[in-house]
Symmetry: C2
Subunit: 353 residues, 2 copies
């Protein structure tokens, strides 16, 4: 009789998966606040809304849940190439929680869904460390996750990971952009670099020019690989601190997370049809990595602004009388912030001058 087939023969090792799961569990607990409900069964993650408690009831009279999902995109492929996966999890969390933040939400929890060619505990735990760091920066609990071994779908050593975040906002405090008016000011928050968008183009530029990722580049003050893997900034704590400053007045009228499509692609989504944003591109310092990529490509300036954040990772549209005070608050929080433009009447779009 032929040798009988077992599940391990097919390339899937259930025990190895269970061992990694235990390690992930330990990391995840570092993100737990008091609202995470202990659940040994593990079919689902449990999170108390606490709305029987007085404080929660006061803050959330008409709660709305918000949910987002995203990946780290081609930045992950670059991280796999450099074999440095310890911060890509921060990018993954950032992509979702910054999107929640756009509508004024408080992130509650996060889940990751990982597909790997083969369970390799070192790689997976390194990735999970970044995810947990990101969750801590966002004040979100890592409530659950899944690791699927897919030897047939991924090349050896490859993996992909999706992130998912849930937040909450009171109906009255939901920021929708509908109150934006001509004259409102645009405050741009400094990005930490490329964040997580445009990496297919970045990888193409690197490949075309045969750029060495391990080479130290003086204008960057570090290697190219280090610069390209700089984690996406998570704006939750700074922006929520500013929002918390104006609990009664509606000072912040719209916000945008600058991802794929750049300022021109993301800002119009949060503006009324009859409002346009005029952005002065000289009003903030463009980090040197953008100039390098434009030169290396070469990539035309207009295309650069259409693909990359160009140094601005998040935008707030605020009432003009409060702009200076908000800029000062961000300064105190050590978050670079610039008055980058204004809203004026006109068809919904962004004009970068």
């Amino acid at each position: 009789m032929a040798k009988t087939l077992t599940y391990k023969d097919s390339g899937v090792d259930i025990e190895a998966g269970d061992a990694v799961a235990a390690g992930i569990g330990r990391l995840a607990r570092s993100t737990f606040g008091p609202r995470v409900v202990k659940n040994e069964m593990g079919f689902a993650g449990l999170f108390r809304l606490d709305y029987d408690e007085r404080l929660f009831k006061r803050n959330y009279r008409h709660p709305i849940l918000l949910a987002c999902t995203d990946t780290a995109g081609s930045k992950l492929k670059l991280a796999l190439q450099i074999k440095k996966l310890d911060t890509i999890g921060i990018d993954l969390v950032a992509m979702s929680v910054n999107d929640l933040l756009v509508q004024g939400a408080e992130p509650l929890f996060f889940l990751d869904c990982l597909s790997v060619s083969k369970v390799d505990s070192k790689t997976i735990l390194s990735l999970m460390e970044g995810i947990c760091l990101g969750c801590q920066q966002a004040g979100a609990a890592l409530l659950g996750g899944e690791t699927a071994e897919m030897p047939d779908l991924y090349a050896s050593g490859d993996l992909d990971v999706a992130g998912f975040a849930v937040g909450i906002v009171d109906r009255k405090r939901l920021i929708s952009g509908k109150d934006v008016e001509p004259g409102d000011c645009l405050i741009g928050l400094a990005s930490s670099g490329l964040h997580s968008n445009g990496y297919s183009l970045v990888r193409k530029i690197i490949a075309k020019g045969k750029r060495d990722l391990s080479r130290h580049i003086p204008t960057l003050g570090r290697t190219l690989g280090e610069e390209l893997l700089e984690p996406t900034r998570i704006y939750v704590k700074t922006v929520r601190s500013v929002l918390g400053h104006y609990r009664v007045k509606r000072v912040v009228r719209a916000m945008a997370h600058i991802t794929g499509g750049g300022l021109a692609g993301n800002l119009p989504r949060v503006l009324p049809k009859s409002c346009q944003a005029i952005i002065k591109k000289d009003s903030w310092p463009t980090p040197p990595i953008f100039d390098l990529l434009a030169k290396w490509g070469p990539v035309a300036e207009q295309e650069m602004y259409r693909v990359f954040n160009m140094g601005i990772g998040f935008v707030l549209v605020v009432r003009p009388t409060f702009a200076q005070s908000i800029l000062r608050q961000f300064k105190r929080l050590k978050q670079g912030a610039y008055l980058i433009g204004r809203i004026r009447p006109g068809p919904n779009k962004v004009i970068i001058e």
Copy 2:
């Protein structure tokens, strides 16, 4: 001067992605109930908890949110191979919502995160149709999703998709398994076939025996490919109907979704340490696909039970006096249900006799 690089040159087409997004939006709206909040901005999906309303307040005094994530695993690879993606989305939803259901939750919403080698609208919309069907079967809104084009990570035509589900349960109705007692009955619900687990082994068996997926197999009454892609059953409506029948008494003491690891791997997770499950394997009809796979492998019987659901996709542990009534209710709902065993004192495990 060299030709300047654009984002399209790097293999990513933002406009094509936007066109597909519009199609997905139309499909998703078919899953929306009144609690989905219209949100044109699209940074996040919005869902009202409604807890200022009287009915919600009565049902959910101490609400707990639950969240799950999963993929369709290697079944997706098989679907890609057969080029039939219209039901794999049902599997994706099933994997997460059946997990939520284990703890008695009502699914609220679902999100998908898709990675593709290239945006192909026909493939993506076909996949999304299945996801929307699954959401309808689960009573969950498809609140959001993301499609990432990753030409560097996926072979041409390949894709991967992660699903995320959020549900809610009142603290008092959370089913945790802690009340399970010796003497309790195990009610097994018929699966629709293989569901979404064990497909790495299935694909190995198919490849080893050079089985033709398009061949009609008399004992299956259809082709092998059709049988293998039969969507995972979503138990939400039938099980919640039975739970709703016992609003005061705690009749259903534990539940388990039978996924990777089979009955032996999943049932112990929901039982107290001092309880074991004795399962009589002759108490339900094993669908013919399992016999075929065991013969073809060959795969030893014990391994079959460790990898596959063997015909039981979901288990309820119930108080013995209510077992017959519950079986009748499932019969009325046209869901196959069998008394498959009992709980007895002993170290936490499953014994299949």
